[in-house]
Subunit: 148 residues, 2 copies
C-alpha cells in the first residue's frame, strides 16, 4: 500500500496547560484555549464562526512510541489502544470537539481542548449533526457497557 | 516548528463505494463497510467491541491539493475549507463516527463510513460521551445558523 503523506501543521495551540502533567485526562472542562491558524491557511477559516462546535485534529507531539495494549487510569486491566483515547498511538493524532467562543481573524478561542501548549494543529472541521450519536454504549467488556 | 511525522496506515477500508463518484456527499446512511486492521496492530483492538460507536480517522488518499476557499454542493458562494467537510484539505484526514456492528478478529463491520474502497485507515478511537454535543448551531453565516 502507498504510504500516507507527511502532514504539516496548519496552526498551533496556546493552552492554559503548559505541560503534560497539567493536562486533564479526558475533557478540559471550562478552560479556554486559543488556536492560532498560520497565515498561509487563514482564509480557510471563512464562515467558520457559523458553527457552535468544531472538530480539532492535532498531533500529540510529545507522545513517544505506542503499545497495542494500554493501561489506563480507569481500569486495572490493559485494553487495546484503539479502545482507549491514549495519546500513545500508532498514529498520534488527537481529536477534540470544542465549543467555538469567538474568532478574531486567525485566532479561534475555544472551550474543551485538552491539548497542551504548542500542540501542532492538523485540521479544523465543522461539527455537524451526523457527528451527534444517540443511545451510545460504552464499556470495555462486551455486554457490560453502560447505555446512555 | 518541528514537522509532524509521516503517518502510516494501520488498516484499510473495504467499502461498497468503489470510486469517488459512488461515495455519498455526507453520510453513508445504512451501508456496511469492513475495516481491516493490519496484523501488526490487531491486538490494539482488544475490548473495542464494548463500544457501540467508533471514531475512524483515515487518509483521503485520492484527494489532490486543496484550496482555502471551497465551493460545495450546498451553497452558491464559496466557504473556507475549515468550515466544510471537503476532502480537499491542507491535511487530507477524513473523520467519521461509525456504528460498530460486529468485530471478527481483525475485521470491523461498521455502518456510516463514507470512505471509498482501499482508503487507508490512520486511527480508531472509541466514541465517548464527551464527543456528544447538544444544542449545536450550524450555518455559514453568523447568526443565521440553525439551532438543533
Amino acid at each position: 500500500m502507498e504510504e500516507s503523506p507527511k502532514f504539516h501543521p496548519i496552526g498551533v495551540v496556546h493552552s492554559p496547560y503548559k505541560c503534560l502533567s497539567e493536562a486533564p485526562y479526558q475533557g478540559s472542562g471550562g478552560d479556554v484555549s486559543e488556536i492560532e491558524i498560520f497565515s498561509e491557511y487563514d482564509r480557510g477559516l471563512k464562515d467558520v464562526e457559523g458553527f457552535s462546535h468544531l472538530i480539532v485534529l492535532y498531533w500529540f507531539h510529545q507522545s513517544k512510541g505506542y503499545s497495542n495494549l494500554v493501561n489506563t487510569p480507569w481500569d486495572t486491566v490493559p485494553h487495546g489502544v484503539f479502545a482507549t483515547r491514549s495519546p500513545r498511538r500508532p498514529n498520534p493524532i488527537g481529536f477534540s470537539v470544542v465549543e467555538l467562543l469567538e474568532r478574531k481573524e486567525n485566532l479561534l478561542y475555544v472551550k474543551g481542548l485538552d491539548a497542551i501548549e504548542k500542540t501542532p494543529v492538523l485540521d479544523i472541521k465543522p461539527y455537524i449533526l451526523r457527528d451527534v450519536k444517540e443511545g451510545i454504549c460504552l464499556g470495555w467488556l462486551k455486554g457490560k457497557g453502560h447505555q446512555r
